[in-house]
């Protein structure tokens, strides 16, 4: 096994570089699972509440689409799995994908692999080290999940099986990312391709779970959820996960031997000898660099919107069949579809915020790579350097929420046969933008004054996503919830569009950007 020579040393290198990053991943995912499991347990603490949960939420296709197979919802443990599994599954998949690409293709792209490969290091050692770390971290997260749910009377067998199902998905995505890293010559595209697979896996299992069809077996997330905790406790679906992961890794190893260090399997094409007219300003460059990302996000949010929108009719039927829910919605004054649309629009807002934070921090990466200096050496002022890319960031975010709203509206129009909601949903999607602006403002502030702390902008985004996704489950004090700008938005369309909070958030966002710009003008570059 000469190809693996030196793996142990590289393993230590990967662990040394990622000790903080991986610790944060483990603590965040295990912490969220433990907190939300405890939250669920204390919310549904009587048999009556559990029965009502099963009747109302467990039978809603929208909830099944977002959570997984509705099994064993007559037990509190079943509800805990139903409420917590998708969050930790998606989290572990993203962790594994990013870790695997970061230590394979990303290293190769900057040329460090070449430096190591010239030493006594086997051809597969770098990949092996990355895969081992990604898989081991998945297992650690799985064990954390096991411990978290064991505290909720899961019993040893079910606790272990839940943890194993989480770890298995991490291992599958480490393998998928490793193959992507062989195929693509660019870390960004390799990560993007892997996340696209994750999106497809989510969509396949969502449709499969709602239909109760075999489509879930095409999805790695499906394999992990088909262990059917408390409804059979099956271990064998995880064998499918491990077998597929093993095949993918063998495939990745084979691809490694068929290509040169530094290049992907898909070769680079030639390009234009002259720059187009638009590529003559920082704005033109920002658009050129980000248009691929904008398009990918747009496709993702339109699809998500279509999935959401297609449930609207079923929701109305569900409420009609259920006097309790009917009463509830009459009291609050909203309709069930409006409440559901509100959640859908919030997800669009969070998605757009994900794009916007990455886009705003792009300048930080460009500076680190030494590509800002030659631009500032031209006739480009600091203001223009900082603010031009923000046009793409904010314009992109507005486009993304609009398209998400449009997706919901179109699917809704198709299932109900009436297009009266389409324009309303597109317009209401803009309510999300002030909150996105605040997160962008934070990123710009950090860019201007505390470059080394730009990760805080990611932390704020992660926090907003967790609060938005799990909401009341975590039972955090109001002021902690209130740290997410999305918590201050009026909950349209149930609530009317209140201008005061939107204006306040907008002013805060603009203020943060202005403050950041002042810092960016004053500081050293590079």
């Amino acid at each position: 096994m000469n190809g693996l020579l030196g793996t142990a040393s590289l393993l230590r290198l990967v662990l040394r570089r990622d000790r903080i990053r991986l610790t944060v991943w483990v603590l965040a995912l295990v912490g969220i699972t433990a907190a939300s499991a405890a939250g669920v347990a204390s919310t549904y603490d009587t048999a009556v509440k559990i029965a009502s949960y099963q009747r109302n939420i467990g039978s809603s296709p929208a909830s099944v689409a977002m959570a997984g197979p509705p099994v064993a919802l007559d037990t509190i443990q079943g509800i805990i799995v139903y409420e917590t599994s998708l969050t930790v599954l998606i989290g572990v998949a993203i962790m594994a994908a990013m870790t695997a690409v970061r230590h394979t293709r990303a290293e190769e792209e900057v040329g460090r692999t070449e430096l190591l490969a010239s030493g006594v290091v086997g051809r597969h050692a770098g990949t092996a080290a990355a895969v081992i770390v990604a898989c081991a971290t998945s297992v650690v997260i799985g064990l954390g999940v096991t411990a978290s749910v064991a505290a909720q009377d899961f019993g040893t067998g079910a606790s272990l099986l839940y943890g194993a199902s989480v770890a298995a998905l991490g291992i599958v995505f480490a393998a998928i990312a490793t193959v992507a890293a062989q195929l693509m010559s660019h870390a960004r595209t390799a990560t993007g391709a892997t996340l696209a697979v994750l999106g497809a896996a989510f969509a396949l299992r969502a449709i499969g779970d709602v239909q109760g069809s075999g489509l879930v077996w095409l999805s790695p997330i499906g394999w992990s959820q088909q262990v059917l905790l408390f409804d059979g406790d099956r271990w064998w679906p995880l064998a499918v996960s491990l077998l597929v992961a093993a095949l993918l890794l063998v495939g990745a190893g084979w691809l490694t031997t068929r290509r040169d260090v530094g290049s992907g399997v898909f070769p680079d094409r030639r390009g234009a000898a002259r720059a187009g007219r638009s590529l003559s300003s920082p704005l033109g460059l920002a658009w050129r660099l980000q248009r691929g990302t904008v398009i990918a996000w747009a496709v993702a949010l339109v699809l998500l919107g279509l999935v959401f929108g297609s449930f609207s009719e079923q929701l109305e039927n569900m409420v009609e069949d259920n006097p309790t829910l009917q009463q509830y919605f009459e009291q609050t004054g909203g309709s069930v579809t409006d409440a559901f649309f509100g959640t859908a629009l919030l997800f669009m807002g969070l998605g757009a915020a994900g794009f916007a934070v990455a886009s705003a921090l792009r300048l930080h990466g460009e500076e680190g790579a030494g590509r800002v200096e030659p631009m500032l050496a031209g006739q480009v002022s600091r203001w223009r350097m900082l603010l031009s890319p923000l046009v793409v960031t904010l314009g992109g975010a507005a486009l993304l929420v609009s398209l998400g709203g449009l997706g919901v509206g179109i699917a809704d129009a198709l299932v109900r046969g009436s297009a009266d909601q389409v324009l309303r949903l597109v317009a209401l999607s803009w309510v999300q933008l002030p909150a996105v602006l605040v997160l962008v403002g934070l990123a710009v502030l950090l860019l201007g004054w505390a470059q080394r702390a730009t990760a805080l902008a990611w932390a704020a985004l992660g926090f907003a996503v967790v609060i938005g996704w799990l909401g009341g489950l975590l039972r955090l004090p109001d002021w902690v919830d209130g740290l997410s700008p999305f918590q201050h938005l009026p909950q349209v369309p149930v609530e009317p569009v209140a201008l005061a909070p939107l204006l306040a958030l907008t002013l805060l966002g603009v203020g943060l950007i202005a403050l950041g710009a002042v810092g960016y003008r004053r500081r050293d570059i590079g």
């Binding site: 720059a275 590529l279 006739q379 480009v380």
Partner: protein, 309 residues
């Protein structure tokens, strides 16, 4: 003489590191000025201050009559820059990067762009991520040389270029000089500075230790002489300024401080010289003397030298 660049007593610290420690630099309009020093001596920091990328803690800096920090964007219309380690946008082609960088400066000479691509043998249709270091360097060079900038700041511009391209680069700099443009050329390749520069400044630990024409700097050091005489030159070591006397194959090799050269010649002449070879110190020797041995900087005797005020 008008000055293109003047820096006086510039200090810049990064944390506890004192990158520039009272730097003085004067570059006259129309000259090719060599900026020499070992790695980490402050060459790049100086250039980045001149570009307004980094702000000096104290001291005065003038670039083309303006303040390089305050007037950065407007001054850059007249300045072209080539960094030592060129990083390009991986998914842009070389040709696109050249156009972008030129347009950000305010335009380029189309005819010259085409001619330079030819001379540097650069394929503009390849994506930047597939370029070697040398090719990335060529992209930045073509963008800078195709501009009509009055002042070119070149930070180790030939690192990664092969000798053929190095020669092309030297031709280009000669042309710039003929057109009356000013070049600040940071380098540690001494042959390059010797071939191109009117004057050089040598920087060490954030200070300029010597400035002057090459001729003046050579005055400050020793000439190597190989001589054979009919009568033994045994007393040579006693002549003031003569060092390292060695007898090899009947010839005498020695170094002599340049300002004592005439005394050595006076001593040798009566001994009936049969052959004599002497060569002036190369910049290499100057450099080694400055950095290799722990010799204190020689106080300049030439009025043009060191920190002209």
């Amino acid at each position: 003489m008008t000055t293109a660049i003047s820096a006086h007593d510039v200090v810049k610290t990064f944390g506890t590191t004192r990158a520039l420690d009272g730097l003085d630099l004067e570059v006259a309009t129309g000259e090719v000025h060599g900026f020499l020093g070992p790695n980490g001596s402050g060459k790049s920091t100086t250039i980045r201050i001149l570009l307004g990328l980094v702000r000096a803690d104290s001291g005065e800096t003038t670039l083309l009559g303006g303040d390089p920090w305050r007037d950065a964007a407007t001054l850059h219309r007249r300045v072209a820059y080539v960094p030592g380690d060129v990083s390009l946008w991986p998914n842009l082609t070389g040709g696109e990067a050249i156009d972008l960088l030129s347009r950000l400066r305010g335009g380029l000479d189309e005819r010259r762009r085409a001619e330079l691509l030819e001379r540097f043998d650069l394929d503009p249709t390849k994506k930047a991520r597939s370029y070697s270091k040398g090719n990335r360097q060529k992209v930045a060079l073509v963008a800078a040389l195709a501009s009509d900038a009055e002042l070119l700041l070149l930070d180790e511009p030939t690192s990664g270029l092969d000798p053929l391209m190095e020669a092309t680069f030297q031709d280009c700099v000669h042309e710039l000089r003929a057109e009356g443009r000013t070049v600040l050329l940071s380098s540690h390749i001494l042959a390059e500075a010797e071939a191109l520069c009117d004057r050089v400044s040598i920087i060490r630990s954030g200070r300029i230790v010597q400035t002057g024409t090459l001729a003046a700097l050579r005055q400050l050091t020793r000439t190597t002489v190989i001589v054979s005489t009919q009568q033994p030159a045994d007393g040579l070591a006693g002549v003031p300024g003569v060092l390292r006397v060695e007898h090899v194959d009947g010839k005498v090799h020695f170094d002599v401080d340049t300002d004592h050269l005439d005394e050595a010649m006076d001593y040798l002449a009566p001994l009936r010289v049969t052959s004599l070879v002497s060569h002036p110190p190369t910049l290499e020797e100057l450099f080694l003397r400055q950095f290799g041995e722990s010799v204190e900087p020689v106080e300049p005797t030439d009025t043009e030298s060191a920190g002209a005020r």
